[in-house]
Structures are given as structure tokens and as C-alpha cells.
């Protein structure tokens, strides 16, 4: 075997070994980088768009989390006066003669609904997948940019517009939509059923329809880019797991969001054109509606045909990020790369044939549920494979416990805790009792809320230097990690017990029921934990913005000594990513401590006698 080089001068290697795509022979400047507006606002550069998605996501995360604090106060301290919130919430706080302020039930439900909608779509779909797919796909596959930078820009701006409309709906006099993030008709279809189902619902539908457009424009771009713009030597089986995750996520989005859109269109027709896709036999507000023949269950099928893949749209990018971060900071290859890819594909496929497990108790034929139970619980198998592979990746490593790695470890912990409760809920018999109780709230918050956030945080801490050329503060990062890990378990673990006791979710008050009202201490505890975790997230936001200007500067291109291509680009990001040739790839993304070399980037050619072993 030839003598091994252990330090790499990237520029020299790229100049010698890279692939000349003649990129710099064309003139690109005007359209992309000239002027503030083209550079930072209507940018077509994937790195800027990624940052736009991230910052918009942070904005929405703060709004969505703040809403959860307000409704947690209602649940934890129903007796306390909320008059102090009157300046913020106005007429939704009803103050009686004694000066005691009460949160209006309508607005409680509006807060719950908006919290769900914002977190699921704006934060964990756009903020997570939008950020990292945009940032990493071109950089890690060795592309100059997305296949269509213009559609990519449109993708962000449709998302932005969706956000503007949703934000506006918070301030209208009848309040934002309040029928739950799933927006089941007839509640969502009939303005007379709830104040929030009037203008608030119209805006909700318009906003999310624009959001679907954003996801589709983004998704088409991600898939096309992964399939067509991989650099020389970057075969599918050499792609980092992040790219596999983003790729499958984008496919899931493309296949499922149009179905949601069709459901939305039917709902819009039912609301405004007098059709009856989802309505039948309704007597409301003293009137029998002349709308027969439809069924609300059709909407649920359409919604969950998106809704279930959607949870994988949320969690797959987090899985990809966690895989990458675990491997880099454990200084070991990801264990079972092919099994990991196959698990992602299996989960992606299965996600399309399990949707009715959200509907066991909805009135669908119980016989049908048998199939959905089987397919749902099969998902436990690829999920288990992934968990064991992550743990084995840490085994025998040389683990750097920095903020990024801690959040990746936390992700695995959360995914285990939340995933296992899915085995209860996926079994339809147990779901008879657990459906729509706090057990479900605990399950999905841990497995796709907190876990996805942990994946996102791991990604932000890890790729922050790539985005901003500086590091985030490690001290603040660790405080953030410990506070979030302990706090998130403190919020959601007790909810399992409340759920086992049968307490239903989406209750404004538990006082009417003797069976539900005896958890006041626990509810207070949860509320305090939620408030603490919220403040700790503000610390992350502080760290994020502080470090953009004041963070420790990046002094080398590859601070984590990682193997993937994004670390071969200059510290100062440029249009087209690489100043000269784009790298050509000679190996998979996980050659850590394969031989004497601590790590071998993908663009390093094989030495004589070396084999690609994975």
C-alpha cells in the first residue's frame, strides 16, 4: 500500500482531481449576487434560501411555542386570573367585574389549532426539511446549486406568503381557525359550527394551499437535483444518509401533498360552492342543511394520506442529520449504511399504507383496520434497525460530546421513547382506549415533535459554521441541550400517565368530569416545565443571532474533520460553491479511521490496494 497522506490541501486536490464542469466560463453574476435584494431577499442561491427557511422557521417556532405556553397556563392554572394577558390577547381574555380574566374557550381551541398547524407545517416541515435540504443537497452531492434555482426561490416565497396569511388570520375579529390542525369537517366546513370556521378557516385553507405549492416546488427540485446533479463518482450508494433522507422526504412530499390539496379543494367547494363532499344529514343552528350524500370520513382518508407520510417528512430529515452527526463526532462510519438506506426506503414506502391507523375509531369498517395494524407495526422493524445501528455507531467510537453530538444522542433517546409508545397506539385494540387521550399527545410530541427538534438542533449546531462561517457558543449550546432534554421529558413523560387514566386531549377544562379532574398537580408541573423549556429555547435563539456576528470564527474549511463534500468549499461561501473544479468522488461518505488515516474525505482518490468496504 502506498504511503498515506493524512492532511489534505483541498484546493490542490480539487485542481488536480476535480471535475471541470465549465461552470466558470459562463457569466452568472448579475442574476445571482448583484445587489442587496438579489443577494439576500429574492435570492436564488440555495445557501441563502436555506438560511431564509431557517430564520422563518425560528420565527414561527417562537410564535407556536408561545401559544403552547398560553394554553398550558389555562390547563395548569385554570383558577388563576389571566387578565395580565389582556394587552396581548384583547377580547379573547374575558375579564369579569372582580377583575378575574378568563381565556375564552374559542381562543383556547384556536391556540391549540394554530400551535399544531404552525409546528407541523411551518417549523418542522419548512424549517427543518426546507433548511437542510436546501443547504446540504447541492453541497453534499457536489452540485453548483439546485436544478432550478428559480423554482427554489419561489418555493421559499410561497412559504413566506403562506406564513403572512396565517399570521394575518391571528388578528381577525372572529379569530383564527379553531377546529384542530387536522381540520376535520363538518366542524371546519360549516361557519355556523364555530366562530373560527368562518374567515379564519378560509385563510387557513388559502395559507396551507400556498404551502402545498411551496413543498411541491421544493420537492421537485430536491429530487431532480439528487437524481441529475450528482458529481462525477457520486453514485447513489455513496451519498451521505442526509441526502438519502432528504431525497425520500421530497418524494413523500411530492406524492402526498397533492392528495392533501385535493382534500382542501373539496373542503373549499363544500364551504363556498354548496357541494357536499364531506357533508350529510346535518342539523345545525336550528336548521336542517340541504347537503346530503357526502361523508366526513372521506376527508379523513385524504388528510391522513398526507398526514401520515407527513410525520415521516418531519422525522426522516432529522434521522438523516442524526446519522451524519453521530458518525462524524463518533469518528466512526455509520453502522450498517445499506441497512440504514433500506430502512429509510422501507419507512418511506410503508408510510403510504398505514394512514388509517389515525382512524381506527372514526367509523371505518373495523375489518379494514386489521391491515393497517399489520402495516403500522411493521414500521417498528426498520425503526428498530435504525436505533440499534445508531447505538452501534457510538459503540467503540471516540465520541466528541459537543452540542451537535449531544442533540444527536438526545434525538436517539427521544426516538426510542416516543417510538415505543407507537407500538401501543398502532395496535388498534389498545387504541380503543388510548385514541385522543394525553397518551397520544405524549407519543407524537416526543417522537416527531421533540425528536425532530433535536435533529434540527443537531443540524444547526453542526452546520452553523457552514452557514455563517462562525461557531455557536458551546457553553450556551450545552445549557440549551441539558435544559431541553430534561425539560422535554418533564413535559411529556407525565402525560403518559394522564393518558392512561383516560383523560382526553383538546379539553379546555377538566372540571366537568370526575374521572379527568384529579391531575391538577401534574398539570401544574407540566406547565412550569413547558415555561422553563420555552425560556431555554430563547437562549438558543440568542446564541444563534449572537453568534452570527460575535461567534468564534471558522479558521479552517473542515473544522469537524468530516468526509463529506460541503467541507471542501471555501469558508466564505460563493455562488457555485466551488471556486474551480467541482470535486469528483471516489468513496462513500463514512471513511473514518478506516486505516491509519483519521478520516478520508470523499474526494480523495483510492490509494493502490484500498477497497471500498461497506
Amino acid at each position: 500500500m502506498a504511503e498515506l497522506i493524512t492532511t489534505y490541501d483541498t484546493d490542490v486536490i480539487l485542481a488536480e482531481q476535480g471535475y471541470d464542469d465549465k461552470f466558470h466560463e459562463h457569466h452568472h453574476g448579475d442574476k445571482y449576487q448583484s445587489g442587496f435584494i438579489h443577494h439576500y431577499i429574492f435570492s436564488m442561491d440555495h445557501k441563502i434560501i436555506a438560511r431564509q427557511f431557517l430564520m422563518t422557521g425560528i420565527f414561527w417556532a417562537i410564535i407556536g411555542a408561545a401559544m403552547s405556553i398560553i394554553f398550558r397556563i389555562q390547563l395548569g392554572y385554570p383558577e388563576e386570573s389571566m387578565a395580565w394577558l389582556k394587552p396581548l390577547l384583547g377580547k379573547w381574555i374575558v375579564v369579569d367585574e372582580a377583575g378575574i380574566g378568563t381565556l375564552a374557550p374559542e381562543f383556547y381551541y384556536a391556540l391549540v389549532t394554530m400551535h399544531g398547524t404552525i409546528l407541523v407545517f411551518f417549523v418542522l416541515t419548512a424549517g427543518l426539511s426546507g433548511t437542510f435540504s436546501n443547504l446540504l443537497i447541492p453541497l453534499q452531492i457536489g452540485a453548483r446549486d439546485m436544478a432550478s434555482p428559480f423554482l427554489n426561490m419561489l418555493s421559499y416565497w410561497f412559504f413566506f406568503l403562506a406564513g403572512v396569511i396565517m399570521f394575518y388570520s391571528l388578528f381577525i375579529s372572529t379569530g383564527p381557525f379553531s377546529g384542530g390542525w387536522t381540520a376535520y369537517p363538518p366542524l371546519s366546513a360549516l361557519p355556523q359550527a364555530s366562530t373560527g370556521s368562518g374567515t379564519g378557516m378560509t385563510l387557513w385553507l388559502v395559507s396551507l394551499t400556498l404551502f402545498v405549492v411551496s413543498v411541491l416546488l421544493g420537492g421537485i427540485n430536491y429530487v431532480t437535483t439528487v437524481l441529475n446533479l450528482r458529481t462525477q463518482g457520486m453514485t447513489m450508494w455513496r451519498m451521505p444518509l442526509t441526502i438519502w433522507a432528504f431525497f425520500v422526504t421530497a418524494i413523500l412530499g411530492i406524492l402526498s401533498f397533492p392528495v392533501l390539496a385535493s382534500g382542501f379543494f373539496m373542503l373549499i367547494f363544500d364551504r363556498s360552492l354548496g357541494t357536499s363532499f364531506f357533508l350529510s344529514d346535518i342539523f345545525i343552528e336550528g336548521q336542517a342543511l340541504d347537503r346530503v350524500g357526502g361523508t366526513p370520513i372521506l376527508y379523513q382518508h385524504l388528510f391522513w394520506f398526507l398526514g401520515h407520510p407527513e410525520v415521516y417528512i418531519i422525522i426522516l430529515p432529522a434521522m438523516g442529520i442524526a446519522s451524519e452527526v453521530l458518525s462524524v463526532h463518533a469518528r466512526k462510519p455509520i453502522f450498517g449504511y445499506k441497512a440504514m438506506v433500506l430502512s429509510i426506503l422501507a419507512i418511506g414506502f410503508l408510510s403510504f399504507i398505514v394512514w388509517a391507523h389515525h382512524m381506527f375509531m372514526s367509523g371505518v369498517n373495523p375489518f379494514i383496520s386489521n391491515f393497517f395494524v399489520v402495516f403500522t407495526l411493521i414500521i417498528a422493524v426498520p425503526s428498530a434497525v435504525k436505533v440499534f445501528n445508531w447505538i452501534t455507531t457510538i459503540w467503540g467510537g471516540n465520541v466528541r460530546l459537543n452540542s451537535a453530538m449531544l442533540f444527536a444522542i438526545g434525538f436517539v433517546s427521544m426516538f426510542i421513547s416516543g417510538g415505543l409508545t407507537g407500538i401501543f397506539l398502532g395496535n388498534s385494540a389498545i387504541d380503543i382506549q388510548m385514541h385522543d387521550t394525553y397518551f397520544v399527545v405524549a407519543h407524537f410530541h416526543i417522537v416527531m415533535g421533540v425528536a425532530a427538534f433535536f435533529g434540527m438542533f443537531a443540524g444547526v449546531y453542526h452546520w452553523y459554521p457552514k452557514m455563517f462561517g462562525r461557531f455557536m457558543s458551546e457553553t450556551m449550546g450545552k445549557i440549551h441541550f441539558w435544559g431541553t432534554l430534561i425539560g422535554a421529558y418533564a413535559i411529556f413523560w407525565p402525560m403518559h400517565y394522564i393518558g392512561m387514566a383516560g383523560v382526553p386531549r383538546r379539553y379546555y377544562s377538566f372540571d366537568s368530569f370526575d374521572a379527568f379532574k384529579h391531575f391538577t398537580e401534574l398539570n401544574k408541573f407540566i406547565t412550569i416545565a413547558a415555561a422553563v423549556v420555552f425560556v431555554i429555547q430563547l437562549l438558543f435563539v440568542l446564541n444563534f443571532f449572537y453568534s452570527i456576528w460575535k461567534g468564534k470564527k471558522m479558521t479552517s474549511r473542515n473544522p469537524w474533520e468530516a468526509t463529506t463534500l460541503e467541507w471542501s468549499t471555501p469558508i466564505e461561501p460563493i455562488h457555485g460553491n466551488w471556486p474551480g473544479n467541482i470535486p469528483s468522488v471516489h468513496r462513500w461518505a463514512y471513511d473514518y479511521n478506516k486505516d491509519e488515516r483519521e478520516y478520508v474525505p470523499q474526494y480523495i482518490p483510492m490509494v493502490e490496494g484500498e477497497e471500498e468496504d461497506h
Binding site: 384542530g180 409508545t421 385522543d436 458551546e474 457553553t475 392512561m500 377544562s509 368530569f513 425560556v535
Partner: protein, 501 residues
């Protein structure tokens, strides 16, 4: 002002944290990047293990502390037949996932500690192992297969409909914003049809179709009352938006969907009283029911099974409560006997009644019995004399033509007269005070005569009775009200005495 102070404190804390971070960054620069990083790495690794221990202990301790809210254990064990199986499945799953949970969390945090970055440590290049991967594909497959198969048995068992010929109590629950209406089928055991277009609040809240005779004996109940040990099928309906019929203690849950009636079949296994006895032994149920009244009844004494809504249905979703009482069969029968039909109480002979002015089968049957009792009471009495009001003898308005429906009453009279051939009697016609006396008198005579000729036509001998019109002379009630006048227009059978011999 307080807001300002809080903001100030938060800002101060933020500044302190930023400064601390700067200090620690500076310190690491002085100590040298690498040794500082390794030191911090060791510290973090240590805390990961501490976290793991505290977390797992917390999980176990909290589970023990809250064991009484868990399924299939303690005070809240299921009160239905299928519920016990669900609880069993829950606990099987809890054990299987609990083991996996503890093992994987320990491995995750322990490996993170054990393999923390250390100077000079060379990680293992361990990229895959077919055996290991097959192992942890295979083990979950086996465990999941077991859970799926046992789960599906419980599921199909719990969701099974009533077998043909099996006895079942059918009741109906209808959800609307924001309450439930409970309807029982009445003595016929069948719930009548309904149509949402017939709903009239306060008059016909469910839209029952009164032309369907199954509706006639249906009654509405304020509580759900059921006998213990009997299979119940609840038909679940909604008038407006989605609701969900949720009985937490019975492990019953099913959406109420407008336009698509659903159902749930279950068998209560414990009466409310038995369940109270079950709760009695647990300290959390030995506290006063009402905090304001510490001397009052305890929680277990006041316990009731509850019906709740478990599908978001609008701003009052959290308040759709109904009490469910499970009682012994005898008490249930007594309760049933006390209930009266919604139709008879509210609809009968109003303008909404399609049978207005007609006799219904069960009314005829009931009248047959009461007529017979009245008749026999008079005949058996010492004097042997008395008057029976022939309630179901009807004439066309202002005329002496007998309506068809009168034949039931008169045929019964014929039967009774044939069974008691010794009885002689007078048929009396009466009118109200409307109109002039003379015409009332002649109308009442004509009416008495037409009843007499009907009886004669049925073979009752002429010498047993006389027919007489009294006109308006003998009112039984005040002629100033419509009801009074209605009561005064009548035909009477006056038993005079037993015939000699």
C-alpha cells in the same frame, strides 16, 4: 411594571450567560483548545451517565407512583368484558417495550460515556455486520408478530357485532353541540327510524319519524342506565359535527359521524355500586368529594361512570358529560317501568301526530284490559251497578255515524256481555253544551241508538238494554274548556243489574 421587571431579569440572565460563555471560551483558549475540550468532554460524558440513571429511576418511580391510573391494575380496572382483554394487551406491550426502553437507553448513554473522546484512542472501523443486523431485524419481527397477532384477536373480539339471534339491548346515543341525547327502544326492543329533516328543537329533537310505529314506545333518558352482565349495542349518531362516544371505564370509544351511524357493542361487568366498592380501598378515593365540604361524602361514594366526548367538536367540546349507571337487572326493570314514551308524552294527538284521531294497536290492547277490569269490578261488586265510559267509541262530527275505530271497543263490549249473559244495561249518549238543547238531545239519542244497533247486530238481545240520549244535561266536566267539552261528549254503558235468573 411586573412585565418590565421580568423582562429586565431575563435580559440580565441572558447577559450573564453570554459573558460566562465568553469567559469559558477565553479559558479554553488559555488552557489550549484540545485539553479544554477533552476536559469538558469528560464532564459532559459523566453527566450523561448521571442523567441516564436519574431518568431511568424517575421513570420507574413515577410509574410506581402512578400505578393506580394504569390499565388493568388497581382501582381503574375495566368495567366491561372486552376491556379486560385490552388492559391485558396493554400490559403485555408495556412489559415488552419497557425492556427494550431500559436496555436501549442504557446502551445509548453508557456507550456515549464509555467511548467519549480520549487522547490517543483509536476508534474501531466497524461498518457493518450481517449477523448483528439480521439479529436486530429478526428479534423485532418476532416480538411484533406476537403483539400484532394477539392485538388483532382482541380487536376483532372487541369490535364484533351481535351474533344473529343473540340477545342484546339496543340503545342510541346522538351527539350534538354540546350534549348527548340517549334514546331507548321501549318495550318492543326496536329503535324507531329518524330523519334529520324532521328535527324540530323542543318538539322532535332527534327527528323521529312518527309514522314508524317502532318510535311510539321509544323513550329518552337523562342518564344511561344499563343492567349488569347484559350485552349492549349503542348506535352512535351525530346531528351536526363529529363527536366521539367515549366511556373511559368501559374501554369504549367510537366517533359519532353525521350521516353515518356507527355502533359499539359491549357488556358491562360491574354495577356502579360494585365499582364504588372497588374504589373504596384506595386512599385517593377516600377524600371528600367536594373540597368545600370536608364532612360530606367521599369520592368513592359519589363515583359515577361517565360518558365524554373525545373528538373535537367546538368550543364546548370539554363539557359533553352524561352519567352512566350500571344496575342489577331488577333495578333496571323497575327503572324501565318508570320511563314513559316520548311520543305518548309529547306527540300523541298533537298536530305532529300522523295517527291523530286514530287508535294504535297497543292502545287497543291496553283498553281491552282496562275495559274488562272495569266491567268485572262492577259485576262483582255488591250492588252490581256502575257506569263505564266507552272511551273508544267515536262518531263523525255532528253526526251519529260510528267511526270504524269504534268497533274495537264495541266488540270488546260484545265479548264481555256474552261472557256475562245475566247483565242488563243502559246505553247513554251525552253531548257538550255547544249548540241548542233540542238538537243536542236528539243527537245524543241518535248516537245511543247507533251504538245499540251495532250491539244488536252482533247478537246482543234487545231485551237486555235500552238506549237513551241525555243531551247536555249530565256533564262530567266544565263545559268552558275544550278538554272539558271533549270529556262531556261521551257514550256510557250503565250496568243496571244482573238479569233475574
Amino acid at each position: 411594571m411586573i412585565g418590565l421587571v421580568i423582562f429586565g431579569i431575563i435580559a440580565l440572565i441572558a447577559v450573564i450567560i453570554v459573558q460566562l460563555s465568553k469567559v469559558s471560551d477565553l479559558a479554553s483558549a488559555i488552557k489550549g483548545e484540545e485539553s479544554a475540550r477533552l476536559q469538558s468532554n469528560n464532564r459532559t460524558a459523566f453527566w450523561l451517565v448521571i442523567f441516564m440513571i436519574v431518568f431511568l429511576v424517575f421513570c420507574v418511580v413515577s410509574a410506581l407512583y402512578y400505578k393506580n391510573v394504569m390499565l388493568g391494575y388497581g382501582p381503574l380496572t375495566s368495567a366491561s368484558e372486552h376491556g379486560g382483554k385490552i388492559d391485558g394487551l396493554f400490559n403485555t406491550t408495556l412489559i415488552a417495550t419497557g425492556i427494550v426502553f431500559v436496555l436501549t437507553q442504557i446502551l445509548l448513554f453508557w456507550f456515549s460515556y464509555k467511548y467519549r473522546e480520549q487522547k490517543g484512542h483509536k476508534p474501531v472501523f466497524f461498518a457493518h455486520s450481517t449477523q448483528l443486523e439480521l439479529l436486530w431485524t429478526g428479534v423485532p419481527v418476532v416480538v411484533m408478530t406476537y403483539l400484532v397477532v394477539s392485538g388483532l384477536f382482541v380487536w376483532n373480539d372487541s369490535m364484533a357485532d351481535v351474533a344473529a339471534g343473540e340477545e342484546v339491548i339496543d340503545i342510541e346515543a346522538t351527539g350534538y353541540q354540546f350534549a348527548w341525547d340517549i334514546r331507548y327502544p321501549g318495550p318492543d326492543g326496536k329503535i324507531g327510524t329518524k330523519n334529520f329533516r324532521l328535527i324540530e328543537p323542543g318538539i322532535n329533537p332527534l327527528g323521529q319519524d312518527w309514522s314508524d310505529e317502532k318510535n311510539i314506545d321509544d323513550f329518552m333518558a337523562s342518564d344511561i342506565v344499563l343492567p349488569v352482565g347484559k350485552k349492549v349495542r349503542v348506535s352512535i349518531n351525530s346531528k351536526d359535527v363529529l363527536h366521539n362516544f367515549y366511556l373511559p371505564h368501559f374501554r369504549v370509544k367510537m366517533d359519532a359521524v353525521p350521516g353515518l351511524p356507527t355502533y359499539f357493542v359491549f357488556t358491562p361487568t360491574k354495577t356502579t355500586e360494585e365499582f364504588r366498592q372497588q374504589l373504596k380501598d384506595y386512599p385517593e378515593f377516600q377524600v371528600p368529594f367536594d373540597d368545600i365540604d370536608p364532612e360530606g361524602p367521599q369520592r368513592w361514594e359519589m363515583f359515577d361512570f361517565e360518558l365524554a366526548c373525545a373528538e373535537l367538536c367546538g368550543k364546548g367540546h370539554y363539557s359533553m358529560r352524561k352519567v352512566v349507571r350500571i344496575v342489577e337487572q331488577e333495578e333496571y326493570d323497575r327503572w324501565l317501568a318508570d320511563q314513559s314514551s316520548y311520543y305518548m308524552d309529547n306527540i300523541r294527538n298533537t298536530d305532529d301526530d300522523p295517527f291523530k284521531g286514530e287508535l294504535l294497536g297497543f292502545e287497543i290492547g291496553r283498553r281491552k284490559n282496562s275495559l274488562k277490569n272495569e266491567f268485572i269490578d262492577i259485576v262483582d261488586s255488591d250492588s252490581g251497578e256502575g257506569t263505564i265510559n266507552l272511551e273508544y267509541v267515536f262518531f263523525d262530527t255532528g253526526s251519529a255515524n260510528l267511526k270504524d275505530d269504534s268497533k274495537y271497543e264495541l266488540d270488546n263490549v260484545v265479548t264481555l256481555l256474552n261472557e256475562n249473559p245475566e247483565v242488563i244495561f243502559e246505553l247513554g249518549g251525552h253531548t257538550d253544551s255547544q249548540g241548542d238543547d233540542a238538537s243536542n238531545l236528539s243527537l245524543s239519542q241518535a248516537r245511543a241508538d247507533s251504538v245499540a244497533s251495532y250491539l244488536a247486530g252482533k247478537g246482543i238481545s234487545n231485551d237486555r238494554f235500552t238506549a237513551r240520549g241525555y243531551g247536555e244535561a249530565a256533564p262530567v266536566q266544565d263545559n268552558d274548556t275544550a278538554e272539558g267539552r271533549q270529556a262531556n261528549r261521551r257514550t256510557e254503558l250503565k250496568i243496571l243489574s244482573k238479569k233475574e235468573g
